[in-house]
Point group: D2
Chain length 115, copies 4
Amino acid sequence: MSDQLLARLRQFVNDRDWEQFHDPKNLSMALAAEVGELLACFRWLTPPESEDILRHEETSKRVLEELGDVAICLMKLCDRLGVSIEEVASEKLALNEARYPVDRARGRATKYSDL
Amino acid sequence: MSDQLLARLRQFVNDRDWEQFHDPKNLSMALAAEVGELLACFRWLTPPESEDILRHEETSKRVLEELGDVAICLMKLCDRLGVSIEEVASEKLALNEARYPVDRARGRATKYSDL
Amino acid sequence: MSDQLLARLRQFVNDRDWEQFHDPKNLSMALAAEVGELLACFRWLTPPESEDILRHEETSKRVLEELGDVAICLMKLCDRLGVSIEEVASEKLALNEARYPVDRARGRATKYSDL
Amino acid sequence: MSDQLLARLRQFVNDRDWEQFHDPKNLSMALAAEVGELLACFRWLTPPESEDILRHEETSKRVLEELGDVAICLMKLCDRLGVSIEEVASEKLALNEARYPVDRARGRATKYSDL
C-alpha cells in the first residue's frame, strides 16, 4: 500500500482516538469479522456466478466495501505490529516459491507437506 | 501493493497452472482459512501479550507467515475480480471518514448505524 | 448435546486448569480458528466434490476432526455464557421460520430483509 | 441436538426448497460467515467485558441470535454429510483427552504437538 494511504488511515484512527481498541488481538478479530462478511457475499453462488459478482450493481457495491474493510483491517494490523504488508507478502511468496516446485505442484491443489 | 509484487504473484500462479482453482468463491474461502490460522496465533493471548507477539522467535515466524498468506490471498482475490487493493481500501476509508464523524465517533467503538 | 457429553467436556477442561483461558472472547476466536481449518478442507473442491468429502479416507479423517473441534468450541462457548446450544438453535430457528415465509422464500437464497 | 430439533430444521429447509444451495462447501462458508458475525460482537470488548455480554439487553439479543445461527449451520452441515454433531464432538474429545495428558497440559495453552 502507498505511504499516503497508510498515513491517511493512521490519521483516521488517531482523530477518533481508536488506538485504544486496536491491539493486535482485537484487530485479528476485526479482520476475521470482515472476512466473514465477504464470505457471506459468496456463500450461495456457484463458482461461475462468483466470477461475475462485480457485474451486478446490488452485489458489486457490497463486495467492494467488504474487500475494502478487509484491506483496511490488514493494513491496521500490520501497522500496529510494525511490519509492512508488502514485505510480509513478498517473504511468504518467496517461501511458497520454494515449497511448491513447479514440476511437482503443477495443476495440483495439494498442500506442500503432501507433495 | 507494488506492480512488481503483483506480477510475481501472477507468474507464481501461472507457472503452477493454479488459475483453474482460483475462482473468487474459492479464493474467499482460502482467505478465510488463512485468517483462521492467524486467529489461532492470538486466541489464548491477553491483549497486552498480543502486542509482543513478534518479539518472541517461536510466535513471530508463524505470525509473519500467516500475515503473508492473508495478504497474498487478498491480492489474488482482488486481482481475479479486476480491482486494486489500494483502490478498494481508499474508497472504503473515504466512506468511513463520512460515516464516523470525529465528534460523534471519538473514543467510541460503536457501529456507525448506532452513532 | 447430551448432558453426559457436556459433563465430560467440563471435566476435561477442569482437569487441565484451562478455564483461565476460556473467556467468551477467547472462545469465539478459538471457534473461528477451527472453522478456518474446516474451510481449508473445502476451499479447492467443487460443490459436487464437497458432497463426497467423507468418502475418501485421507480427507474424511481431517473433516471429522475439524467438525468435532467446531462443535466442542461452540459447546464450550455456550456453556461459559450459561446458555444451551439446543435452546439458542431452537429460538433462532423459530425466528427464521417467521422471517422467511415459505411463499416468499421458496427456492431463493435471499436475505430476509431483501425478500 | 435432539432428533426433534433436527427434524424441524430439515422441514424448514425442505419447505423452502433450499437443499439445492446446501452442499457441504456452501454450508462451510455459511458457517464461517455466521462465526464472523459472532466475532463482530466480541472484537472490541476486553476479556472481562466479554463475560458479561449476555447481561446487556442490546448485545445479548444479537449474541444469542449469532450463536443460534452458528449452531444451525453446524447442524445442517453435519446432517448433509450424514454425521451426528454429538458423535463428532465425542470422538474429538476422546482424541483430545489422549493428546493432552493432564500432567503435561495442566495450566498451559500449548498445542499438543508442542507439549
